[in-house]
């Protein structure tokens, strides 16, 4: 393994006689700039949000949610049993029949707008809690997660009274009760992705957040309560896999929307086979980020970095396979190392932190296991030499060179800050390698030629192809996968289709 260090001034790098190393040292250091969590109120204990009421779980069981950066317990959260899930589904069904499906779209829109505005008003608190519960840098929760979540509610509020225009004059009816299961990587944003279109289309919701990151979904329940939505329109049940399974298996559910791992997605698909339940799955990915020699290289470096290190790589559409045109391999590696030397790993609440904590111990173990397999299989590992905090779960930004297309690190989703770099010679070879995966969620293409981007976009089997950028999201742009990355689209006019029956 080679360390990515801060370099030494003016010293030629070994093996590259005519080149010189940059020096990112301590000439002018940034003082700590932590966002203060003092005014944020996290309750010691959270109940289930069912039928508009905070309800103790019939199981009487609670589980802890911890801050992955400190390993400190943040709160106790109710564990919903099958009976609790049943109560939530019944509440959602009642709300569907009594209020929500009957309500004119323009009235539903007012509620959804209200949620969007309330999110903006509480943005700072939500960002801080998101960072404390999940470990992501505050600059990301502040500038991306929370504003994008608000944008999803705003966008879908606009659709609520215009659904008849979304399907070319055909009438769109709501499905009924949607059971929604979301992951821990973007807890609040995924809740918004799921809830906003469901509500806009006239469905009611039972949502289960991930067990490691339940807090912001519960804060969203508080917001929904304050916005005075009719009771039962949105229900939040917390818990782990068993709670999710109870939701999937419940006969009163009309639609399951799941975002998470491919393994769990397959189990869900089996479970709903032969039932009336509609299903959309947004699963794993192993996206190719393809850099051609004619790309704006310095900007491609930024795209590579945000592609894999955004949210510690806990991103299903992360650009985790970097395909470099062979002629620019060395220069890209060199520039990537220098760029990574400026990255700041540490306290996620510090406004200058670039890399926060890994979401959970289990995820850290999985990352370590896959990285070890990469080293064992013979790839060359390069990791940022940085101070790792004593407490909490951390992994330094890392990339592998000399990796084979067949290595596990090139095929399996690592879901961490670990990039696998390979080369290609021609556009056709890039396409073949990019598509040589069971996944198909996203891809990136870097070239100065617009025509090449469009050609690649038609050939890549991925739900989203980014041109000269990466990890860009907008509520109006549909998102979803090919192959084992799932099916169904979220966002845009296409995303509405998952929540309506079109006559």
């Amino acid at each position: 393994m080679s360390d990515i260090t801060k370099g030494a001034p003016g010293v030629p790098q070994a093996g590259t006689p005519a080149s010189f190393a940059l020096d990112f040292g301590k000439a002018w250091e940034y003082a700590p700039a932590p966002e203060s969590p003092d005014h944020v109120k996290i309750a010691p204990k959270y109940e289930l949000f069912i039928g508009g009421k905070w309800t103790a779980p019939q199981s009487k069981k609670y589980f802890d949610t911890v801050n992955p950066a400190t390993e400190q317990k943040l709160a106790e959260v109710a564990e919903a049993s099958a009976a609790d899930v049943d109560a939530a589904v019944v509440a959602a069904r009642t709300a569907f029949e009594k209020y929500w499906a009957k309500m004119p779209g323009k009235e539903r829109a007012k509620y959804i707008f209200r949620i969007a505005r309330a999110i903006q008003e509480k943005a700072r608190e939500l960002a801080i809690v998101e960072t404390m519960d999940g470990g992501k840098p505050i600059k990301e929760s502040r500038d991306f997660d929370i504003p994008t979540a608000a944008a999803h509610f705003f966008y879908h509020a606009g659709w609520a009274d215009k659904l008849e225009y979304a399907f070319h004059g055909r009438k769109a009816r709501p499905l009924g009760v949607a059971g929604q299961i979301i992951p821990w990587n973007f807890p609040f944003l995924m809740a918004a992705w799921k809830i906003a279109p469901a509500l806009a289309c006239g469905n009611t919701v039972v949502l289960k957040p991930a067990e490691t990151t339940p807090l912001t979904a519960l804060l969203l329940a508080q917001i929904i309560e304050e916005c005075e939505l009719p009771p039962g329109v949105v229900n939040i049940v917390t818990g782990a896999g068993a709670t999710g399974a109870a939701l999937v298996d419940h006969p009163g559910i009309d639609k399951i929307a799941f975002t998470g791992s491919t393994a769990v997605g397959k189990r869900i698909q089996r479970a709903v086979a032969g039932t009336k339940k509609r299903l959309t799955l947004e699963l794993g990915g192993k996206a190719a980020n393809i850099v051609f020699a004619d790309a704006p290289i310095d900007q491609a470096i930024e795209g590579i970095v945000s592609g894999i290190f955004f949210n510690q790589g806990h991103v299903c559409c992360a650009g985790s396979r970097l395909l470099l045109e062979e002629s620019v391999h060395d220069v890209v590696i060199r520039k990537l190392k220098d760029r990574m030397a400026t990255m700041r790993l540490g306290d996620p609440l510090d406004k200058n932190t670039d890399i926060g904590a890994i979401n959970s111990k289990a995820q850290l173990e999985r990352i370590k296991e896959l990285v070890a397999s990469g080293e064992l299989e013979g790839a060359e590992r390069h990791s940022l030499a940085c101070t790792i905090p004593e407490k909490g779960y951390w992994f330094p930004p890392t990339f592998f060179t000399n990796a084979g297309q067949a290595f596990r690190i090139a095929r399996e989703e690592i879901f961490g800050p670990v990039l696998t770099i390979m080369t290609f010679r021609t556009p056709d070879e890039a396409i073949e390698k990019a598509n040589n995966t069971m996944y198909g969620l996203s891809a990136g293409v870097w070239t100065d030629k617009g025509s090449k981007i469009f050609h690649m976009a038609t050939q890549l089997k991925a739900g989203v192809v980014w041109g000269d950028t990466f990890n860009k999201f907008d509520p109006s742009s549909p998102f979803g996968g090919f192959k084992e990355s799932g099916f169904g689209r979220e966002g845009g006019r296409q995303g509405l289709g998952a929540y309506v029956e079109v006559e």
Binding site: K6, G7, P9, G10, P12, A18, S19, F20, L22, D23, F24, G25, K26, A27, W28, E29, Y30, A31, A33, K139, D143, D294, A295, P296, I297, D298, Q299, E302, G303, R334, T342, K351, N352, D448, D468, T469
Partner: protein
Amino acid sequence: MTTALFKRSAPTRASRFPLFNPPPVDQVAIEERVANLAKRSIKKASKVAGLKLSISMMDLTTLEGKDTEGKVLQLCRKAVRPLDSDSDLPSCAAICVYPNFVRIAKDALGASGVKVASVATAFPSGQSPLEIKLDDVRRAVEFGADEIDMVIDRGAMLSGDYGKVFDEIAATKEACGPAHLKVILETGELGSYDVVRKASDLAIAAGGDFIKTSTGKVQPAATLGVTLVMLEAIRDHFYATGTRIGMKPAGGVRTAKQALQYLVVVKETLGDPWLTPDLFRFGASALLNDVLMQLEKERTGLYQASEDFSKD
């Protein structure tokens, strides 16, 4: 009469750079990158250190038709000792004036260590014959200028006559003798980041010690975006040769907050060795007082009135 299909000056030194093929620049990504860097939170000790550093990097500038001896002398005093009440503050890096005031400035600054920079080469348009521009440079150096801030021929740049641009810079460098050469690209007239990159590479290859964004007479002047594009050119040159070229954003940097944003972009693009007046300068006039005001605020906890700072 036939017209040449391609523009061609006399054989140029640029033609000896067959690999003159600057990389493309993506505008959206450049602006996203600097917007992200501008969000770095610089507080407390790092704020004070950054502001003091930025004073030491300032080319305190007056370039007006109404400049007088009195004005230049006042500015010299300010450059040597920016704040009477605080003798710990560094002096500015240089005074930047027209050639007519170089002697006066030189005498006034004496052994203070503050350098005299003079604009030359028919500043700001550069639209004069080369001989006149070179003469302008030689005289400014004769008068005692330590540094020469030249302008490139933007007309030649935009019409594709890169050889002419290169040759003029090379000739100016020769005319500078011992004086340092800063090459002003006037990025506000170049129209795109691609041309800024191209001009940066030319200026570096032709012998510029510094590359500089603007004259201050054209809007937009310095921006974080053009600065990053130019720093990337400097970085690629360093990678290839080990030689460090300096950078000077000029015009448009008016607040302490902006100055810190520029320092962040330099720090995270080129690293520590560039965080010195030898390799980074601000061309500014209004900036100094805002920096002083922020430093006083950090020192005393209170904002002073703008009247508390001398307006020279």
